[in-house]
Structures are given as C-alpha cells and as structure tokens.
Symmetry: C2
Amino acid sequence: MSNTNVLYQHGTLALLVPGLLDGTITMKELLTHGDTGIGTGEGLDGELIILDGTPYQVDSTGSVNIVKGDFTLPFANIHYGNYHKLLSVENISQKELEKRILAQTSINTFFSIKVHGTFKDVKTRAVKKSHKPYDTLAKTAEAQSVFDRQEVSGTVLSYFSPTVFDGAAVAGFHHHFISDKHDFGGHLLSLGTVSGDVEIQQFDTLEQHLPVKNQDYMDFDFSQCDILGDIHKAE
Amino acid sequence: MSNTNVLYQHGTLALLVPGLLDGTITMKELLTHGDTGIGTGEGLDGELIILDGTPYQVDSTGSVNIVKGDFTLPFANIHYGNYHKLLSVENISQKELEKRILAQTSINTFFSIKVHGTFKDVKTRAVKKSHKPYDTLAKTAEAQSVFDRQEVSGTVLSYFSPTVFDGAAVAGFHHHFISDKHDFGGHLLSLGTVSGDVEIQQFDTLEQHLPVKNQDYMDFDFSQCDILGDIHKAE
C-alpha cells in the first residue's frame, strides 16, 4: 500500500556530522518506500534527487548519473508523490517563494514542495565522496563543488521539517534541483528568480528509520558533536 | 502486519508544553498500532500505561481505570511487545538499573524496557486534567498528584529516545509504572531499589504521527516556547 501521507527517512542529518557515512540502505530498498526523494551516497557521494521513481545523482564533477539498485546511501528522504497545485509564480526571488509557500501552510508538520519552471542564477553544490575513514560533514562541505546556470528549466524538490525535528532532519527547507535536460543539478544553494508552478504535498507521518545494523553508528558517542551548529553551517 | 521493530508515536512532547492538549487520537485507533505503550489523556488526563493490549489510566486521585475505545489522547507511544531478557537484578537503585541497561545497549536508537519485580520506595505522579483553554505543561506539573509505596510488585514500562529526538520525545528514559494489583501507578518519579527481571526491545523505526487535522496545533507558533527547558522540568 502506498500511503501518500508518509515521509520515509533513512538515517538522520545528525549522523552525517561526524562522518558516519557507510551506505546503510540500497537504492532498491529505498524505492520500496516511494518514488520521489532526495539523499546522498556512501561517503557523501553526490546529491541525489528521485523523480517519478528514477534516482538521479549529481556527482562532484557535476555529471548527472542514474544510479543502480545496489547504490547505497547513509541518508535519504523518500515518499510517494501526490502533489497538488499551491500557486503559480513569476520572476520572484527564492525568499519571496518561500514566504508565499509558508503563508499558505503550517510549519508544524512535514511537507514536500515541487517547483517546475524556469530559474535564473541557480547555484548548486555537490559533495565529493570520501572513503573510510570518512571526512566529517564540515570537512566535506569545504571541498564541495559549486555549479551555476544563468537560466535553466528544471525542478526544485524540497522537504520542509518542523523545528522540533532539527538534527534528525534539517529544520526548514532542504532543496535539491535538477534540470529538465538532466545535465545540471545538486543541492540548491541559491536561486535568483523563478517562474513556474509550485506544488505541495503535506504529510502526517514521519517514518524515521535508523541504521541499527551499522555498528559504527550504534557505538558512536554523539555527545561531543555540535550537531545543530555543523548541520546549519553545511546545509 | 505487526512489525515489532516499529515504535509508533502520536503527537510530540513539544506540543504538550504550550498546552495543545486536545485528544487527537482515540484509544481504539491507537491500539491498531500496538499492544504496549504509554500516554496521557485529553487535557493531560492522567498517566496511561498499556500492557498486553489493556489501557490503564492512573488519574490524579490515584485511581487506576481501564479506559474505553473512545478515550482520546494528545500524546502516546505504542508498539507491539516482543521483549527479550536483558538481565536480572537484585536490590539495586534506579541509577544502577539505568547504568546496567545502558552498558548493554546503544543509545542511538529507540528502545523499550520492561522491568517486572518488587520495588521499594516507589514515587509516582499523575497529572490532573484541565479543560480548554488548557493549562501549559509547567502549570499542570505544579498541580500534579504524587503517590508512593514502600514496597510493591509491579511493572515499569519505559521508552528510551536518542538525544537528537529531544523535543519530539523526551531524550533518555521515560518510565511509567503500574502495580500487579492495578491499584497504584503513574509516571515514575523515583524508585529506591528494585529486584526483578529486565527485558528489552529495540526498534529500528520511529513512526511519528502528527495531529495535522487539529487546527490549534497546525496554527501554533512554537518559536516563543522554551520547549526543551519546559519538558525537562516537567518530565
């Protein structure tokens, strides 16, 4: 049964902070929980965006690849897409876009936003895979690649998480981007203006799955980490 | 299908803080997610403990009542019980009990503990129902009733939540108690010593359900609340 009220999350943002980056779910398994999502690969191997069941990876060279079922991830969000139209926008800034979305919805539950349209001055980043012993999130963020396009047609896929779940997720918006031509994308750093259609899907349930079979995760002492500080610096 | 790896949570500890205390799930619906759990009623109506599918309520007079299917709750945890023996203890303190449990398990995932045995110097509390406009958690905690027993046979049912979920849940242990005779119980404040059997059940998934149909919850501005401060004072 595909329940469109459920947002599935594997791993937490928190576990990325100290570099607990083993891939603990396969893409094949992840896709049993939805057809729309975001994530990153083992060792922070790029930025993933899943649309209509197809998992695209933007790697640190900027290439967009479709990953296979045995590709593994330390962190991902996925759900069964069932969006409805929220608004149409024309030449508005990212700040204005977020403001208009928030004026029409509650920030006390999880929701996803999909924006399809034409974007100007889009800046994305993709993190670079590290190998065991993995780098911390802060160190990976230092070595990230940044890409930009002056004008591009594409899709922003976002998740919004309530403040109380900060650490497990990123509180607020978490945007990934992919161009219609599948030749540009990544974690959205900023956009100049957007014209297009904004859709929303609200969830009533977060299904939070933790990598309990990963001994590094289970044994780790998080008490020495500045989880929230490091997440908000990197994300 | 009853998945014994899943801890179901309705509502958050955070929503209790400002007094968003409408009952947003019925006991009947809650019991479709498990047979073992804890919670509180609408308006903070007592302390609930669910054992083998029977929902006991310790109210603010100290009475233990079995609640009906239409009893509603703003917050609850429930799961399908499938415990295994962790250890036997004899005349140890609560601090020692918690220490021995934590020495044998990871604090990076959710788990439940069930201790059945003989307890000395047990102190419990039960909160008192308020009506709309509801009291805040801090105000309700001031008016709580405290009960004690010098020696009693009974069950401690606990949930442990990882630090990163503090606010959504209470980080660390959250213990409820009920006597074998069903004549004493509540939220466990302290115990002197315990002799008995300690069982554990570890989860890999938190199924976090939010009351999205409750307009008071959805419209509330949590940004002015000291959620974590108030939770740890009250819980």
